[in-house]
């Protein structure tokens, strides 16, 4: 493997970690995901087509590892996030203010979304990928990206604008939580 590719991967690590953090909402779990992603990318480097975006390819590996993990949690009976997002009522003109926009509240809101919508939030809102790039990453048409992402962001916003309590101590636990 050339040093050039290694250098690109290392330069990409800060963004890959942010992506993983947006998916897992826990820095330790995020770094495990990043490590697994790098190991897989390095082991399967022959599957990456030079000339295409190395970064997009690595986002895709991370996202697929995470989605696989979510599926296996579900099949093992770990309480999955239900598709609750659609249950929220309208916001009655309430606006998102002050304490709702914390890591804890946003994390709680994102966790209620279906996993593929969580991936879209992380790819587009956090990482700033275009719809086209996100569509390629998930292997779905752009129209699907737009409708899912728009639903996800409205549901997240409505959750943040609602009066759903978020435990105050949750934040530290989320960030520094011990892995089980």
């Amino acid at each position: 493997m050339t040093d050039d590719i290694k250098a690109r991967m290392i330069a990409f690590l800060p963004r890959l970690r942010r992506f993983a953090f947006a998916l897992t909402r826990n820095m330790d779990v995020a770094d495990d995901l990043v490590q697994d992603t790098c190991e897989r990318a390095l082991a399967r480097l022959d599957q990456w087509e030079p000339g295409t975006s190395l970064e997009s390819w690595m986002y895709r590996i991370a996202q697929n590892l995470w989605l696989d993990r979510k599926r296996s949690e579900k099949s093992r009976g770990v309480p999955a996030e239900l598709d609750e997002a659609m249950e929220f009522e309208g916001t009655d003109g309430r606006q998102v203010t002050d304490s709702r926009l914390t890591l804890a509240a946003v994390s709680a809101g994102i966790e209620r979304l279906p996993p593929d919508q969580q991936v879209l939030i992380a790819l587009v809102c956090v990482e700033g990928l275009s719809y086209k790039e996100a569509a390629a990453s998930l292997g779905v048409p752009i129209g699907t990206v737009m409708s899912r992402l728009s639903r996800a962001r409205q549901a997240l916003y409505q959750f943040l604008a609602s009066d759903q309590p978020v435990a105050g101590g949750e934040l530290r636990e989320r960030v520094h939580g011990s892995r089980s």
């Binding site: 493997m1 290694k6 690109r8 991967m9 290392i10 330069a11 990409f12 690590l13 800060p14 963004r15 970690r17 942010r18 953090f21 947006a22 820095m27 995020a30 770094d31 495990d32 990043v34 490590q35 790098c38 190991e39 390095l42 082991a43 970064e55 606006q95 998102v96 203010t97 002050d98 304490s99 926009l101 914390t102 890591l103 804890a104 946003v106 939030i121 992380a122 587009v124 809102c125 956090v126 990482e127 700033g128 275009s130 719809y131 737009m146 409708s147 992402l149 728009s150 962001r153 409205q154 997240l156 916003y157 409505q158 943040l160 934040l171 530290r172 960030v175």
Partner: protein
């Protein structure tokens, strides 16, 4: 009037509309407050999520991850998942406006966009607060009582006041101009996709709403305001310690999104901007 689907409003905020679509929607938004309020879920999520999840940007990359790549995938060091070695000095996360290759100068654009947004770096997990969130849009209907003397709506376009024109014409980014009891600050200069020079700005005043926008210089040498909206005051505070010591910053998600969509390449470096100011923007 036709119903504007949420997908289109979201694409506007994300800078994914074509110039033609954007112009059309801007005209609709300028006269439809209900439509403007529907931008909010998209603008808030677009502007705040990168900040909410920016912890990895504020700390160095764990050394074991770097070593893993350097060793071609074999964990050759003693560092394991439970025994992490963290060292200083690995890059931080570039903002989405900046490609990976230019890390050396990465603080400038992000800082300009978010007004030097500081998320209590030493203390850890700052929260972003949107105070009185609401992405306002200054159109014909709302100009009268509010910010009408900075930008007014005239024959289908937004027209800049003398003070704003002076700031756009003469002030380097970051230097405030005082006019009509307000501070006008250009926050960044950039080139649009169609080659015009554009400048993003903010307007603040004591005990009055803040505004943000951007203007582009047409071929005839006149600045034309492309967007001017009520901005959001963003404060930072350290949630883990329950404090509330942050100071407010001006953020306008809709303007940031529109600028991202309009900008071609990178925002101008200080030197280039100085040169253009000196030459009165003739390029």
């Amino acid at each position: 009037m036709d119903h504007v689907p949420n997908d289109i409003l979201m694409a506007f905020v994300d800078g994914e509309l074509s110039d033609e679509q954007r112009t059309w929607l801007e005209a609709r938004l300028a006269r439809d407050p209900d439509l403007r309020s529907r931008l909010e879920p998209f603008a808030v999520t677009r502007a705040t999520l990168p900040l909410i999840f920016d912890q990895p940007a504020r700390e160095p990359v764990p050394q074991h991850l770097i070593a893993l790549i350097q060793n071609g995938g074999r964990s050759a060091t003693a560092a394991t998942r439970s025994d992490r070695v963290v060292e200083r000095g690995t890059g931080s996360v570039p903002s989405r406006h900046r490609p990976l290759t230019t890390e050396a100068d990465q603080s400038g654009w992000f800082d300009r966009l978010f007004g030097g947004f500081a998320l209590a770096p030493a203390l850890g997990y700052a929260a972003v607060l949107l105070v009185g969130a609401g992405v306002g849009w200054i159109g014909a209907s709302t100009l009268g009582g509010g910010d009408g003397d900075i930008v007014r709506y005239e024959s289908g376009g937004l027209v800049a006041s003398r003070g704003l024109l002076e700031a756009l014409d003469q002030k380097p980014s970051g230097e405030a101009l005082s006019a009509d009891g307000r501070l006008i600050t250009v926050t960044a200069s950039f080139r649009s996709g169609d080659g015009r020079i554009c400048r993003q700005y903010q307007v603040t005043a004591q005990a009055a709403p803040s505004f943000a926008g951007y203007a582009c210089r047409n071929a005839d040498g006149l600045w034309r305001v492309a967007m001017h909206t009520e901005a959001v005051s963003v404060a930072t505070r350290d949630v883990a310690y329950g404090g509330d010591s942050g100071e407010a910053r001006i953020v306008s998600p809709a303007v940031d999104a529109a600028v991202s969509g309009t900008m071609s390449g990178e925002p101008m470096a200080v030197g280039e901007e100085q040169e253009l100011l000196r030459k009165r923007w003739s390029h």
